[in-house]
């Protein structure tokens, strides 16, 4: 499968910090839904910034190796140009909102890149519709709830038709219902447009139904970068990383370890119950 992002022996340190990323060698496959997991300070956010060209060239620092996005090195590229192909939603998403109304917000990057007014209007309308905010072009940002503002930001990313969307802990300030709803929307976009999705998330339970691949980071280095079902056991083997696995997979891998059985690829409770029943695990009232 074609790789849309490649990091080759990439090392990075901010100007006044120790190494934040060490010898990162990984590929993001086209059309994948990749989860980046790891404890705080593992380098997840910096890895996202590297994938969007913000690190090292925009922020500065010390680096070695190369990052290629859609086959081209990010070296010498403007972040605004990379943003036309790789959308980025930061953890502090409010800091990315720059306009007064929802319509202006979605149109901002399109107008900056010289799109014709008619196309801007059409793309704005479609993007707002895609995120469940149809007809809200004239809404002031303070008329939208936190969740709606996050959807608006997703719309402004979608409007430029990026091939990749990188999201850095997008639901960290949301309640569980809001988080589930946002990830459903992201998955819907992924499925409808074939957009490659990269998400940093420490509550991986939310992403279990959707994740195709997983990158596990610890202390700036890659512990595992593979298909989700292959990376999860590597995460389980490390006691520090184990609690970051989806709860269902902690149970599954625990059962496999304890009883020496091979269980299926659980993506939700229904899968788990069916598989346990098939394997002869019975529910006990006590």
């Amino acid at each position: 499968m074609e790789n849309v992002i490649q990091l080759e022996n990439f090392y990075f340190a901010y100007k006044r910090s120790d190494l934040v990323l060490r010898d990162i060698d990984l590929n993001i496959k086209k059309g994948s839904f990749t989860v980046i997991a790891g404890p705080s300070g593992a380098g997840k956010t910096t890895l996202c910034k590297a994938m969007t060209g913000i690190v090292p060239y925009y922020m500065g620092g010390r680096y070695s190796g190369d990052v290629k996005v859609l086959g081209e090195s990010t070296k010498g590229k403007k972040v605004s140009d990379i943003a036309m192909r790789v959308g980025f939603i930061m953890e502090d998403y409010e800091s990315q909102l720059v306009s007064l109304t929802a319509g202006e917000e979605v149109a901002f990057s399109l107008l900056n890149h010289g799109f014709a007014p008619a196309e801007v209007a059409e793309r704005t309308r479609k993007a707002l519709e895609d995120v469940g905010l149809p007809g809200r072009e004239s809404y002031q940002l303070d008329e939208l709830s936190g969740g709606q503002r996050q959807r608006l930001l997703l719309a402004s990313v979608l409007a430029v038709h990026p091939e990749i969307i990188v999201l850095d802990e997008p639901v960290s300030a949301m309640d569980p219902d809001g988080a589930i709803s946002l990830y459903k929307l992201v998955y819907d976009i992924h499925r409808r447009y074939g957009t490659t999705i990269v998400v940093v998330e420490h509550r991986t339970d939310y992403l279990l139904p959707y994740a195709t691949d997983m990158i596990v980071l610890k202390e700036g280095a890659v512990v595992a970068a593979d298909k989700f079902e292959l990376a999860a056991p590597a995460m389980y083997a490390d006691e520090v990383l184990r609690p970051l696995l989806p709860s269902l997979w902690q149970v599954k891998l625990g059962l496999e370890e304890r009883f020496g059985v091979k269980l299926g690829d659980w993506r939700n409770e229904k899968d788990a119950l069916a598989d346990l029943k098939a394997q002869g695990f019975e529910r006990r009232a006590d």
Binding site: N9, Y11, A13, Y14, K15, R16, S17, L19, V20, R22, G41, A42, G43, K44, T45, T46, P56, Y57, Y58, M59, G60, G61, R62, Y63, S64, G65, K78, V79, E219, A221
Partner: protein, 190 residues
């Protein structure tokens, strides 16, 4: 040797591209804050801190602009002071702030070149000296415009300039760290 330190290749140091525009944004924001504070600050015993000078001193300490950029900062700072100036010669602000920003920039560059990058008193000293230079030029222009005796300038005006200079130095010193944290928060953390 620690395993993590082994086989780390030679790292390439790279200056941030963002600084191409960041200094403009920081200057605009701080000068705007300076104008507001300049407008609302009360006059205590004939002395008012010159917030505008303190703000551009912070900007110059933070961004270490080129001399031409510092002259631009000084010019804009001077222009912002002209409309609200109550002095006998408002346009004198342009000459005085051009001087203040230039002195501040030269001092910052000199300190950085001798390794005083992390000297805690750098904002105080540069804020004080910028104010002294700016105030000295401004009051000297006033002396000429109003045809005042030299002794009035030396014994009445310069002591006030020095007092304001110390005040501004303190403001620059106290505000430098929080402002730096605000604008450069992303640099040192993951």
């Amino acid at each position: 040797m620690d395993d993590k330190q082994k086989n780390i290749p030679q790292l390439i140091e790279i200056e941030p591209m963002q600084d191409g525009y960041r200094w403009v944004a920081i200057t605009a924001m701080l000068l705007a804050i300076g104008i507001i504070l300049h407008t609302v600050s009360p006059n205590v015993g004939g002395v008012t801190p010159n917030w505008t000078i303190a703000m551009y001193s912070i900007v110059i300490n933070l961004t270490n602009p080129k001399l031409s950029q510092a002259i631009g900062i000084g010019f804009i700072a001077g222009l912002t002071l002209v409309p609200s100036s109550k002095s006998a010669f408002p346009l004198g602000n342009i000459a005085s702030e051009l001087t203040g920003a230039t002195v501040c920039c030269v001092l910052v560059k000199a300190m950085l070149s001798v390794g005083l990058e992390n000297w805690k008193l750098r904002p105080f000293v540069t804020g004080l000296m910028a104010t002294m230079a700016s105030g000295g030029v401004f009051t000297f222009i006033l002396k000429i415009v109003l045809n005042l005796p030299l002794s009035v300038w030396i014994y009445a005006m310069l002591p006030v300039v020095a007092t304001v200079g110390v005040l501004n130095g303190l403001i620059t010193y106290l505000m430098y760290a929080p402002v730096r944290k605000l604008f450069y928060v992303q640099e040192d953390k993951d």
